[in-house]
Each structure stands twice: as C-alpha cells, then as structure tokens.
Point group: C2
Chain length 422, copies 2
Amino acid sequence: MKKKTDFRTEVREMARKAKEASYRLAQLSTTSKNKALLEMAEDLERHQQHLIEENRKDLASGEKAHLSFSLIDRLRLTPSVIQGMAEGLREVARLPDPVGEVLRMWKRPNGLMVGKMRIPIGVIGLIYESRPNVTADASGLCFKAGNSVLLRGGSEAFHSNQAIGQILRKILSKRGLPEEAIQIFPHTGREAIQEMLQLEEEIDLIIPRGGEELIRFVTNHSKIPVIKHYKGVCHIFVDESADLKMAIRICLNAKVQRPGVCNAMETLLVHEKVASRFLPRMATVLRKEGVELRGCSRTKKVLPGIKEAREEDWFQEYLDLILSIKVVKGIEEAVQHMARFGSFHTEAIITSDYQNAQKFLKEVNSSCVLVNASTRFNDGFELGLGAEIGISTSKFHAFGPMGLEELTTTKFIVYGEGQIRK
Amino acid sequence: MKKKTDFRTEVREMARKAKEASYRLAQLSTTSKNKALLEMAEDLERHQQHLIEENRKDLASGEKAHLSFSLIDRLRLTPSVIQGMAEGLREVARLPDPVGEVLRMWKRPNGLMVGKMRIPIGVIGLIYESRPNVTADASGLCFKAGNSVLLRGGSEAFHSNQAIGQILRKILSKRGLPEEAIQIFPHTGREAIQEMLQLEEEIDLIIPRGGEELIRFVTNHSKIPVIKHYKGVCHIFVDESADLKMAIRICLNAKVQRPGVCNAMETLLVHEKVASRFLPRMATVLRKEGVELRGCSRTKKVLPGIKEAREEDWFQEYLDLILSIKVVKGIEEAVQHMARFGSFHTEAIITSDYQNAQKFLKEVNSSCVLVNASTRFNDGFELGLGAEIGISTSKFHAFGPMGLEELTTTKFIVYGEGQIRK
C-alpha cells in the first residue's frame, strides 16, 4: 500500500499529462482521429482472449467478495460484449467531428465578423462502476471530441479496465498520438477520487456515473464542475382525448420493455374522464407482464384490490415492475404533479388534442418531453446523437443525453480589418 | 445580530421561494416580461432621489471605513448611473426572448421529430461586490431569460442594493408577477453565502463576480455549479506580415483605452523579422500614453533601457499601464507562449497572411480569438449579445461573454405518432 502523498503526486502527474495531451488532441485532424478509433476497434477484437482472461480475474474476486448476480453479470466480458465495444468505437468514427464546427456567424455594425466555434472541453474525469465496456465507450467519445480522459473505474473491474485501456493507448502511441489522452486510474480508492476532484487547473469536467451515493460524494468534494445524473422518476399523462390503444401500447413499452433503466415510466397519470375506460384495460395488460400496481384512492375505485399508493410512492424510482397510478382532473394537475414529485428526467403525454400537446411541450421542463411516444426514447442513440456518455439531470451545460456535441464547448472567433474599440 | 440558525432558515426560505417563482417565470409571455422591464426602468428614474439618498448612507459608511477612492467611486449612484441602469433594462426589453426558441429539429428513421428547445436555467445566485448598478443589470437579464435571481451584494452597497431591489420587486407585485423572482440578500456575511452554496436542490447556478479570492472561496464551498471569471492575461501577436500601422493602432487601443479591465492587452508578442521596424514606433506611441514597458532580452536589444521582463511578468495581469513584450520566432512560439502563460481569456493576431490567420483562429482556444481587431472587443455588447452578466473563463456551459442565451439551457422535445422502443 502506497502512502497518501504518493497517491497525490501520481494523480496530479496524470492530470498534468492529460492537460498537456489535450492541447495536441484539440488540433488532430478528423481523419487521424477516425483511423485511430477504427484500429482500436480492431485491436479490441484481436485481443478478445486476453480481455476475457483479465476479466476472469475480476470475476473471480467478485465471486469471492459475494457480489450480487446482477453485478457479476454487468462485470462480465463476453465475445459479444467485446464485439459491442468495437462496434461502438466504429460508430463514433462514423459520427461527424464536432470540433471546429462554426455554429453561426454574424456581422457587427463596425464590420467585425463574429462567430461561435466548437472546441474541446479539455480534460474530462470519468468516475464509474462495474461495466468495463464504459472504458472503451467513454474513451472513444472523449477522444473524438478532442478531450483527454481520466478514467477511474470501480475496483471490481480493475483488471478488465486496465486491459482495455492498454489496448487503446497502444494504438495512440503506435500512431504517434499522445498516449496520455486516455489514462486509467491505477488506484480505485476514494482518496484518489478526492485528490482528482481538487485539480481544477488541470481537469475541466467531472462525470460520475453510478449510484446516487457516489454522485453525492463527488458533488460534495469537487472543485471542478460536475455533470450529475440523478434518478429518473418518469411520468406518462394519458389525456382525455388520447387514442387509448396507443396509450396502452406506449405505457406498456415505457414500463416493461426495460424496467431497470432511468427512462422507464414510474408513475402513470390518467385524466379522470377516461380513467374508467382506460385503466381496466391497461391494468390487464400490465398484470400479464407481472407489474404490481399502486393507485390513488380514485384509481382504487376503478381497480379495486390494488395496493394504495402512499406519498412516498410518487417520489419513488422503482426501477422494477411496479407502477404508481394517479387519476387527475386534467393537464394542469398532471403538470403540477410532475413538478412536485418528479425528477425532471423524462415525461410524455398521450393526447389527440393540439393545444394540450403544445402546452405540455412548453410547460414541462424536463430533459426530454414527448408527445405520443414512449419515455424510453430519452437516450442519445434513439434521439439521434449517435452515442451518449450519460444522461445529465443537471440543467447546466448539457441537460439530457450527452453526445459528442455536449462534450465540446464554444469559443468566439472574430475576423477584423483593423477595428479598435471606441 | 441574528443567530446562525436564523440565517440558515432565512436563506433556505429565500431559495425555496425563488425556486417556486421560477416555475411561473418560465411560463411568462415575452410581452409580459418586456412590460415589466420597461416599468422597472421608469420607476428607477422616478425614484432617483430616493436611490441617491439611500446610496449616501453607503457612501458615508464607506468613507468612515476608509474605502479607497476608486471603491467609493464605483459605489456612487449619480443621476447618470441611474439613467444607465434604466437604459440597460430597456435594452434587455428590446432583446429577443431566448425562452422557447427551438434551435433545430430533425427526423428520426422511425418518424419521431426531435428538437432542442431553450428553457430557463431556474434559480441563479449572483455574488458580487461594490457597484450597485449590477443589481439592476443582473436582475433584468435573469428575469428576461426566465430565471429567478438571488442577489448577494457587498456590505458596502447594502442600502443601495436594497433600495434598487425594492423598486424592481414592487413592479413585479404590481403586475401580479412572482415577487420572489428577484430577492436581495438581507445578510452580507460570508456565512450567508456559505449557506446558499449548499442549496443544490433549489439553486441551479452560482455566478461570483469579484476578485480572485472571492471566486476561489465560492468554488471551494459550492455544491452548485459555479461560472468562474478568473483573470485575463490577454496577448496580441504581431506577425511578420502585419500591416504595422494597423498593429500600432490596435495595440495602443488594447493597452490604453481602458487598462484596468480584463480584456486589455497585458503581453505583446512580436515576430522577430519585424521587431526592429515595429517596436521603436510602438514604444514611442505607448510611452506617450505613459505605458511602462518590460521586455525580453531580444526586446531590450531593440529598446535598450527598458526594464527586463522576468518569468512572473508573463503570468501577470497588470490591469495597469504596464506592458510586457517578447520577441518570438513566429506563430508557433507565439501560440505556445499563450498556452503556457496565458489565461485563455482573449488573444489577437495582427497579420496579412491568410494561413496564419486561420491557424491562429483554429489553434488558440481562448474564450475569444481575434484577427486584426482589438482584444477590447471581447465583451457581450461589442460581440452582439446585447448585454452580458459576465465573461466566463470556465469552459463549461458558457465560455466567454454570457448574454441572455447563455442564461438558458435546452431540453429535448419529441413529436411522436405512437412510437414505442423496439
């Protein structure tokens, strides 16, 4: 075990090198970045056996430590997971390069041409748990957007992350690119994280991916801006004018297609005028999929025998086959309920009414607001960003899925002809 | 003196009310916001005498406390300063409303129409010192962008800030708008700031305006994202091919037009091939304006007798009539010097060479990069943003001047026809 001061020096040195690499990275041509990404993909596939062997060490320690079945499952590298990582890198290579894009230009009365140009953020610190494929996915996205990345994965995936990182870095050095653009933390303790969170001169952004406790720890200790991803208490409001067949199809999809993810529906709000027609049919379909229903008193009148929803249910992110249901007087009450109990992640309305569709889109300020579509579409790939490094619930810099563009910032550029300020 | 627990409750209560007000604020029509802004302007002018009287209390305490002349000067409310505040609010009323703007929309293969819509950030905490006009300027910008604002001014401007705030709030309540959208801190101690910086559930963004020490204090204590504004060590590089008359005009403007501000030039870099022709003429003009020159050894060969620039000079934000000068081999060395010693605030190149102009714009990643124009143009009004709440040196969310758009974020909106996720 190293001394604390060694930790510090090492983390600082990593960050300093990452910063230095970021200057070169910012100037790389798109072609050069894409070639490296494609070679990384190829090498991950070529070294599949090695990755699986390194992963076995993590699995063995995990089993010794009695990790849960689902944790072990997320930790496992199979040929198809490795194939997925490679495909992810190829997909990122195919995406347009955001760096250097000029968003718009305008002319000032004095003739200055002013524009906003996308540039990399600089150095990104990613703190994550279990899934080793994040190492490749996040490295690919950060690299394409011209950012250096410091990856601090969980101790449970230590050998897997190191092995993936080595493959990616080897391609960088082989191609004469700065190897320090991708660095895997050799320490997995919280002290190393804490040290990293102090380095505001070197690191520009921290993205924690994991449980709420980890995110709170990071937020509380960081001097560097943090993009948070808290829970998703997502709602669907079935309006009076909804096409009820569509409503059933969408609600079913939003609840059961993958109940353990942040964009799954947790609370269903139903207009009182359609509750008695809609809820029994909806309940039948949901029960067939094993969903437990909890309802308000008015829901219980239509669906007697279901559990009563208590106040804490409205705040709850079940991440499970449980759904709370509330009958509301109309869109106003629905919107108020979402603002009071929701988490501003994803909300949808099912309606055939033009005014209500527009009102909902305007008044609900969640990261993604949908009309007549499943909440499950709040995802970088599904929304057309190509890929995502996470879904931000911070309103700051990026709100919602973060793709390549959200991994950049902008600078002002000015073409002059000798202008001076009066 | 109140007890600490009272502070806490009070600050929390303010933030909670600000959050509540922000929901209503986000839905206000542009017309309703503009009418309020125009009435605020009118009332500031109408109550000029009252404002000047309240300001006198602050001036009297300031003199008792032996504040510096320049501090007292910045604190003073004169008829023309009050007129300026009113004009500022009218200007903000004239600017386009960013809220509700859809940046772009695209169609997904499954028919979903996806777009990004601007929405307010929510609640902004502004921490500032001395100048009471910031109270009106910042309130106007935040209000127009649909944000609630908590204003914590310095103790030296307490009565002035309270008086301005009362006038603005009275208009809100008169028009049936949420008064809690603009709140002035009744406490000016650091404890109140510290308490505010904990309230991550209620406050979305903190903007500190003031000295480096204040900004560091805020960054170190905040759980909420902070937009920093550190120093501006701005450079101009005079290239070999520069029109030397233009170079002299621009450098003079950048150094002396207002030497005490963040976008004034602090270091001049000169291509070695024009140093002997350019520097003597430049020095004559600058000396006429009382500028002290400090140069590298090669500069001193051309300008014997000037002070030698030491390593710390290259890091220095003089904010004064002092200029450090370095002779460089060319654009490469100039760019490297800026990255090593600069603060990524504002840099300009004077050149007639097309390739070097483009190279400079591409490779220098400061918040504003100019070709053949004065660094003094890095300012929200000059760049065409209409007004600014500050210049951010954080690369995050907003880099450079922050106008109305930078006081918003975006949400994803989706128009569907019953789509579910496969």
